[in-house]
């Protein structure tokens, strides 16, 4: 009887911590989307020579200060600065998205720079218009080159979303902490939370490998 009780309790604990999945995944997907959009905008602007100094400084600050500081700053200082309060999730999405955009922009820059200048020139000698050159010649190769780094960035962001718990967001980490406070033990709740995070990481790695294999031609 005692064994059955423990299994039931474990299942209810797993389900309880699982309530945080929605927020965690919401932060991850929206954060990555914002990161990609701004990351691409930053790197295109930089490549074209617009606002290089400002963008470089912004990227440097985003990469050079603790994420937990950025998150607290966005959440706690916006009411004073802008006169309205952001919801916890909005503050999280904005912070994680912007922070990630700095890393995405750097990954993209490295990807474009690693591509031989000759590929641009070959496209030019074949009279391929700029738009098509970027769409069909440059970006497919850049994306292939940076794909592993982008997968790492997604994984890093997933783990960083746990910081939302520090401002009260009910993500996997926070539900685990709540459960720990109720049960007076950290062991099981934290193991469950860890298993959720690690499970998601394994899924991201699996999908990443699948896609990477789709780009399976070797480098010329």
């Amino acid at each position: 009887m005692a064994g059955e009780f423990k299994v039931a309790e474990l299942i209810s604990s797993i389900l309880f911590v699982g309530r945080g999945i929605t927020i965690t995944l919401q932060l991850l997907t929206c954060g990555i989307l914002i990161g990609l959009v701004f990351g691409i905008i930053f790197s295109v602007l930089r490549y074209k020579g617009f606002g290089v100094i400002i963008i470089n400084r912004l990227i440097s600050i985003l990469r050079g200060t603790p994420l937990i500081l950025q998150l607290s700053f966005v959440y706690f200082s916006t009411p004073g600065l802008l006169g309205f309060k952001l919801s916890i999730v909005t503050a999280g999405i904005l912070t994680f998205g912007l922070n990630s955009s700095a890393y995405v922009a750097e990954i993209l820059r490295a990807g474009i720079e690693s591509l031989a200048k000759g590929q641009f020139e070959a496209a030019k000698t074949l009279q391929i218009p700029n738009f098509y050159m970027w769409k069909d010649i440059i970006l497919p190769q850049v994306i292939r080159n940076i794909f592993p780094a982008m997968v790492s960035e997604v994984i890093a962001l997933l783990k960083e979303t746990a910081l939302i718990s520090t401002i009260g967001g009910m993500d996997i980490m926070r539900t685990a902490q709540t459960l720990a406070a109720e049960q007076f033990t950290y062991f099981t709740p934290l193991c469950i939370a860890g298993a959720y995070y690690y499970g998601f990481v394994l899924c991201i790695e699996y999908v990443g490998k699948k896609i990477e294999r789709g780009y399976g031609y070797a480098k010329a």
């Binding site: 020139e121 030019k124 000698t125 074949l126 009279q127 190769q141 292939r144 780009y215 031609y217």
Partner: protein, 217 residues
């Protein structure tokens, strides 16, 4: 076909092309020789407008084609896609595959049409690069070191390949440091040294062109 008058090109402060004057007739093959750093590649790149000249004029009537020393095939496209990609953008309605296959057959690499470039040998990449530039119907083909990295037998193949390209009515400028190769194919050899033309001569008028030209290196 092509006329260069007083062409000068500087990189930073060093003069890479120093007052170049060349006039090239239609359907001829001109060899551009000289040691590394003599300005051969820069001259080709200026003609192709990959570099901007500092002074002088380049007049060219006819489509240009360019073959890079390191081929610069698109690694994420098959051989056939490499050939038809650019023509298809310029003329969407026409089917370019048949024409591409004809060229690949002529160059002896039709069986590689669906391979990716990394599966090809150096000689095969060379042919594919040549085929890709021929797809654009160039009237003047600029070849940068077409024999670098190829063994002697493959170099002889390149001679006959370029001969067959000439028979299609294509004028060519070939930059190479290999005098042996150039004397086999070129009607005219121009040697550059420190960005200046030091000799411009038809090798067929010489008894022992290689010995003669070596003195100018």
């Amino acid at each position: 076909m092509l006329r260069l008058s007083n062409v000068c090109k500087k990189f930073h402060d060093s003069l890479v092309l120093d007052d170049i004057n060349i006039n090239i007739e239609k359907n001829s093959i001109v060899g551009l020789a000289g040691s590394s750093g003599s300005g051969k590649t820069t001259l080709l790149r200026c003609i192709q407008k990959l570099e901007v000249i500092d002074s002088g004029a380049i007049e060219c009537n006819g489509e240009l084609g360019f073959m890079f020393q390191d081929f610069q095939l698109f690694p994420h496209m098959t051989v056939l896609q490499n050939l038809i990609y650019a023509p298809r953008i310029l003329d969407k309605k026409k089917d370019h595959s048949a024409h591409a296959m004809r060229i690949l057959t002529n160059l002896g690499v039709a069986n590689k049409a669906s391979e990716y470039p990394d599966k090809l040998s150096g000689g095969q990449k060379q042919r594919v690069a040549l085929a890709r530039s021929l797809m654009m119907h160039p009237e003047l083909l600029l070849c940068d070191e077409p024999t670098s990295g190829l063994d002697i037998a493959t170099t002889l193949d390149v001679v006959s390949l370029l001969e067959s390209v000439r028979s299609m009515g294509v004028t060519m400028i070939i930059a190479s440091h290999d005098l042996d190769f150039l004397t086999k194919i070129a009607d005219r050899i121009i040697i550059l040294k420190n960005g200046k033309i030091i000799i411009d001569i038809a090798p067929k008028t010489l008894e022992d062109p290689i010995q003669y030209l070596k003195k100018y290196y």
